[in-house]
């Protein structure tokens, strides 16, 4: 039981820092800092992933046989902390973190051989077809239908909240392949080429003014049966397995710590009379409370990770707990950032992307993201299962009924 790093671990930390210093160019770090949406902008995230892949570092959570890094707990921790602190973009999770583990565990050899290497290299851009207009928290009530026609499924229906559907060339989706007495039965997990005729994408702007999410319509879309992952009608269990990776199993606390460091910088830019806001007691107490919350999440994530081998699923309670705390802390941080702005919290910048502006903004550049991030981050306690659903999941396990 020891939190200190061994000499080997410290050497790895130096290696990571040297890599970040060389490869994380100022324009990439700036683009990351000036992105107020939930995920990295696709061109930014993909550029960073290709750099990571060249180093062999694209998939720290994957087992080594599939191209993972084979890192120890300490190495994964060091990587997350250092890359977040340096302001590296987050690699988009829909491929590597979400559908990747499902294909690894339930896919055919052909699916693994084809999709996993392309995923590592960022040759495909994935989106997630789960929610529907009538199926949010009650995901198992989904109605998008896939009807067998020879070697194809014919898909009709609609998916919503589809992040980066307008950028993606591939979607993994839960679709209904049969009607069964129990709604969780009769669902299948399929991979859809977004260029297939019959697919249309409608943008949905967020309250922060960002185009990140979409509604996707399917009109007689033909998907080869070989694109089904696992058995027909068993998709719900694969989908739940994926959600554990979506919600937990990583080190989200590193990102939160980096956000808190940025807020502290901002609180040294903004002043209260003759002193920086950072020197006031009210800011210091909120900063400490946030840091303590992040410490607790970090240690919880370390405990979860240390009990797992890479590629294993985190379990429902652990992943729900990590998701809950991460989303709540993220929201409180974004609220703190807006408070730091004072009257500048009124200023609205509608242009996107913020890292490619036509004119100098009227407020400090590093303050531009605070307001849209606060607004957009309301989504954290809703997507991936609302906080209320997470509490239902935890309660079911701990109460045992």
């Amino acid at each position: 039981m020891d939190l200190t790093f061994t000499p080997d671990e410290r050497a790895f930390q130096q290696e990571v820092r040297a890599f970040l210093k060389e490869k994380l160019t100022p324009d990439l770090a700036r683009a990351h800092h000036l992105t107020p949406s939930v995920f990295s902008d696709p061109p930014v995230g993909v550029r960073w992933q290709k750099i990571l892949h060249a180093q062999g570092w694209a998939a720290p959570l994957w087992p080594k046989e599939y191209g993972g890094t084979g890192w120890s707990l300490a190495q994964r921790y060091i990587w997350e902390i250092e890359s977040a602190a340096a302001g590296a973009p987050a690699v988009t999770p829909m491929g590597l973190r979400m559908v990747g583990p499902v294909i690894m565990k339930f896919g055919t050899q052909a699916q693994k051989d084809f999709y996993l290497p392309r995923m590592l290299k960022a040759e495909d851009y994935w989106c997630q077809g789960y929610s529907e207009p009538g199926s949010g928290s009650d995901l198992a009530s989904l109605k998008t239908r896939a009807v067998r026609d020879g070697d194809h499924y014919v898909v009709n229906g609609s998916k919503i909240w589809t992040t980066h559907a307008h950028n993606a060339n591939m979607m993994f989706a839960l679709v209904r392949t049969s009607d069964e007495p129990k709604k969780q039965d009769g669902i299948s997990f399929i991979l859809i080429d977004m260029k297939t005729p019959g697919i249309s994408v409608r943008p949905i702007l967020t309250i922060g003014g960002d185009h990140e999410t979409n509604q996707v319509f399917f009109d007689d879309v033909r998907v080869p049966v070989e694109n089904r992952v696992g058995a027909e009608g068993q998709g719900w269990s694969y989908g739940k397995y994926l959600l554990e990776f979506e919600r937990g199993g990583g080190m989200t606390s590193g990102r939160l710590r980096a956000i808190l460091a940025d807020i502290e910088k901002l609180a040294n830019v903004y002043r209260d009379g003759d002193k920086p806001l950072a020197a006031t007691e009210s800011f210091a107490l909120r900063r400490s409370q946030a840091e303590i919350d992040i410490d607790a999440l970090e240690m919880t994530e370390l405990r979860i990770m240390s009990s797992l081998q890479s590629g294993q699923n985190p379990g429902s309670v652990s992943s729900s707990l990590a998701k809950l705390r991460n989303s709540e802390i993220k929201q409180s941080l974004t609220a703190l950032a807006v408070d730091v702005l004072g009257q500048d919290g009124l200023y609205w910048e509608g242009h996107r992307p913020l890292y490619e502006m036509n004119a100098e903004p009227d407020i400090p550049e590093e303050a531009l993201t605070a307001l849209p991030e606060y607004l957009n981050s309301r989504a954290y306690t809703i997507f991936g299962g609302t906080s209320e659903v997470q509490r239902d999941i935890i309660a079911k396990v701990v109460i045992g009924m």
């Binding site: 039981m1 921790y77 303590i292 999440l297 935890i394």
Partner: protein, 368 residues
């Protein structure tokens, strides 16, 4: 970095839980302090050269967690981590040899007499005085919240040899026998049943060999950090037990024709209690691993942050455990109220979450 327990630590956890679970079935039937001595728990953090086992706070925390879980209320931490820890840190060979083997085998009880009225958890607040008296000293002052003072045969007493009432310099620690002339011990019951005393010193004469150190502040602060870390783990055990008891109760208590546990409001409350337990476990473990950091600021930040999180979480869990037990939770007929009493006691001993949040902020500002 390694977050796994050793085989020895796993065994310690198992034996602590087994012994204390059995004991909880027949409270008061056996002498807990003697059992702790027999199990080697008193010796656990003391130096090997002085009859101890030389283990760290991570090991002590394994024992305190089991105590929290099985409602074994004692002044274990106050005796071996606060009083014993200060003797181990500051005593010379003769002093350690005279005091620690007896503490380790249970034949002697030590208590730290440090807190005073008006100190409000400022560890440098020492108004008691030590004046030169021949080769030795004469001690005067009044001490409160002397944990285990009702049962101690010797006190470790802080008294000022120089400086103003809250100066960090000039604080000395002395070994004072309970039966020394001028010592008045006023033992009193405590909310948690563990017992404490108020100690009055009126011209108490001690020899030069009673002086542990004339510059003790840093060691006192370290001892309190170590004790606070151990208390965090006690609260983790306590919270998990209170949560488990609440879950069990709501499953069997039927109202409106169904068990309480089917109601979503209660289910979410119990989910929040479980989340609080996990966060507290994380922070307690973190504090235990930082409890012997040589960097006092890093150590203080880790411990203050942990207490701010854990004691607030424990208060939430203990209060909600009573709430979900309904009227029965407020009675002495169930053990549920006992959990809250221990949370109240520990907050009174080391200060509540707001105090530690302010300490964390102050130490963070120094680090910046």
């Amino acid at each position: 970095m390694d977050l796994s327990y050793t085989d020895e630590q796993r065994l310690l956890r198992e034996s602590a839980n087994n012994l204390l679970a059995a004991r909880a079935q027949k409270p008061g039937a056996t002498d807990l302090w003697k059992e702790m001595a027999d199990m080697g728990w008193l010796a656990l953090p003391l130096p090997e050269a002085d009859g101890g086992l030389g283990q760290g706070i991570v090991d002590v925390a394994i024992v305190t967690e089991a105590m929290g879980r099985h409602r074994a209320r004692s002044n274990y931490v106050a005796g071996v981590v606060l009083a014993g820890g200060l003797v181990a840190a500051l005593g010379n060979d003769a002093q350690r040899a005279a005091l620690l083997p007896g503490l380790a085998d249970g034949s002697s009880r030590l208590a730290l007499a440090h807190a005073e009225e008006g100190a409000r958890y400022n560890l440098a607040h020492v108004a008691a005085t030590a004046k030169k008296n021949g080769a030795g000293f004469a001690l005067d002052g009044r001490k409160i919240a002397v944990l285990g003072g009702d049962a101690a045969d010797r006190f470790i007493v802080s008294a000022r040899i120089s400086g103003g009432a809250r100066d960090t310099g000039g604080i000395a620690l002395f070994v004072v026998a309970r039966d020394a002339k001028g010592v008045t011990v006023d033992g009193h019951a405590t909310v948690d049943g563990a017992g404490a005393a108020r100690v009055k010193l009126a011209g108490v004469e001690v020899g030069a060999d009673a002086l542990l150190s004339d510059n003790s502040f840093a060691a006192i602060q370290h001892a309190y950090d170590r004790a606070t870390a151990a208390f965090c783990s006690e609260l983790v055990g306590l919270m998990e037990a209170a949560t488990a008891a609440t879950i069990d109760y709501t499953k069997i208590r039927v109202q409106f024709g169904k068990p309480l546990a089917v109601n979503q409001t209660l289910r979410h409350r119990m989910a929040d209690m479980s989340i609080a337990c996990e966060e507290a476990r994380s922070m307690a473990l973190r504090a235990a691993m930082h409890a012997d950091d040589q960097d006092a600021r890093a150590r203080g930040r880790a411990v203050a942050g942990a207490w701010a999180k854990v004691s607030r979480a424990a208060r939430f869990v203990a209060e909600q455990a009573i709430q979900l037990h309904g009227g029965m939770g407020v009675t002495n007929e169930l053990e549920i109220g006992g959990y809250l009493k221990r949370v109240v006691a520990l907050d009174a001993i080391v200060g509540g979450p707001d105090l530690h949040l302010r300490r964390h902020a102050a130490l963070s500002a120094l680090a910046a």
